[in-house]
Symmetry: C2
Subunit: 304 residues, 2 copies
């Protein structure tokens, strides 16, 4: 049985674009339930400017307020050295850095050139050196950019290398706006794992165009075993109003569980947590399993 | 380039469960647009009892009213010899028979045992013999039954054989309530195609649990090249209110087109037709591409 690692991003990638601020105690309660359900990693929050992302202004309170399970990695997104300082104060297990492969997307997202982002990252890496806090490097728009279109595979490999040179222990290839196809995912992942066979690669898919779980299947076939997903399928893409968001954690775990992959996650507990998320947000979320039930949830027979 | 055949079911599998009756002229207009867009087969309607399925009470008017493209196969579902007579009067290219692999589901669906269904089918086949009308045999609940759970692969193979013995030229393996996993799809299709390497197999998936397009990928990997899909993702499952329906035709064609598969379909025309469907139904349909746009629909850059 192949072990697959499930990494949760709803409280960061999802909450940051919600219309409403989720109260701090509800965030903490939700993350505690996520931890108990057996997820391998949780991206708790983001230490960005509260002006830029008011929904995550309580980053410090949240990360300090949660119960930390010893076998869960608690990570946080940080944009700069100030964020690294905050993450260190809160004793995050890991920080997640984000640069886009596309120059245009990086400029739109963080208002600097990709080179400038990596210069900042070197300062972050220097600051974190010796703290024991791990660095994960995310490459946004790896499978396509909503402005530039297709992205060169060589450019992706070059930027992976830049992350590795500054000490990143893991790399996330992110399909930020859901542009990757299963064929493309297989091809790129095979190329990356041929060059770095032991590199912990995470695939971060959005289901914007319905290909999210198909992309997971092809990622696994290429040898990837770590996947980001968002409870309830929260998250989204500002260019695709109405389209679904990140791939949905409980839908992903459900599919892989019934394909006999080994995970630590308790699917029923995860589904309960997703239902709680719907209660908190008071709206329907895109996830399918909380609507359809598991494959094994059979119906009783009544002949009318 | 591998040629993939796209078969449309929205006006049958979709419309039969809509809350509203779609006017006959709108059905005809929609099917004409589907034909023009280059779909390979269209399941136009169903000759069932108007009492059982009032939405399709205009089956005869619809099939007689459409413009028939010579390279499109126009098929219709029929439940009995009376339906076969009607299909023959309207000169359908093909009739589609449906039996469930699961006894319980067959009883719920058509109120007879599976053996009884196949006895009826023999009479249908006798009636159609010499008419030139092809027979397609559909096996509902092939990948799982909402009452009985998992389905034996041997039982599926036995029933395929029964269809072939009565003269079916093609077989559809239907995942009626979205219970199949990609692994299961690959395994069963490989088994079927090992036994009947030249049999035209269609896979009919529902996206009830989000696995629809992932199942297509594994079906193709096993050698299947024919897929049913529903414009806008129409259709559904009575046991999963709120869950998505059949896999969505334009989402399927979009994915396969950007994976370089060869299809006859004009994707832009198909997307326009899906948007028209939304206008006709006056509600949002589950398809993602009409919300998110194609991968190649880039956004202009404006720095605010």
């Amino acid at each position: 049985m192949q072990r697959i690692y499930i990494q949760e991003v709803a409280t960061r990638d999802g909450f940051q674009i919600e219309d409403q601020f989720v109260p701090t105690d509800q965030k903490i309660d939700l993350i505690n339930r996520m931890g108990s359900s057996g997820l391998d990693k949780i991206e708790v929050t983001s230490f960005v400017s509260p002006k830029a992302v008011p929904n995550l202004k309580d980053a410090k309170e949240v990360i300090e307020g949660i119960d930390r399970k010893p076998d869960v990695t608690y990570t946080t997104l940080i944009p700069n050295v100030k964020g690294a300082e905050q993450a260190a104060e809160c004793e995050a297990d890991e920080v997640n850095l984000v640069a886009s492969v596309s120059e245009t997307h990086n400029m739109k997202n963080v208002r600097r050139k990709v080179d400038e982002s990596f210069s900042d990252f070197k300062n972050i890496a220097s600051f974190l050196s010796g703290t024991g806090i791990q660095i994960n490097g995310t490459l946004a728009t790896t499978f396509g950019c909503p402005f530039e279109g297709r992205i060169s595979e060589d450019r992706v490999l070059t930027l992976i290398n830049e992350y590795l040179e500054l000490g990143a222990g893991g790399i996330t290839l992110a399909d930020t706006t859901g542009m990757g196809t299963p064929k493309q995912v297989y091809k790129l992942c095979e190329k990356v794992l041929t060059r770095w066979p032991n590199l912990p690669i995470t695939l971060h898919f959005h289901n914007t165009r319905g290909m999210g779980l198909a992309n997971v299947i092809e990622g696994i076939r290429a040898g990837v075993i770590r996947f980001d997903a968002s409870l309830g399928g929260l998250g989204g893409c500002p260019f695709a109003p109405g389209a679904t968001g990140n791939i949905c954690t409980e839908d992903l775990v459900h599919m892989l569980a019934f394909m006999d992959y080994e995970m630590r996650v308790d699917l029923d507990q995860l589904i309960d947590t997703a239902k709680r998320l719907e209660t908190i947000l008071q709206r329907e979320v895109p996830g399918q399993i909380i609507k359809a039930g598991k494959i094994t949830d059979l119906h009783s027979v009544s002949y009318s």
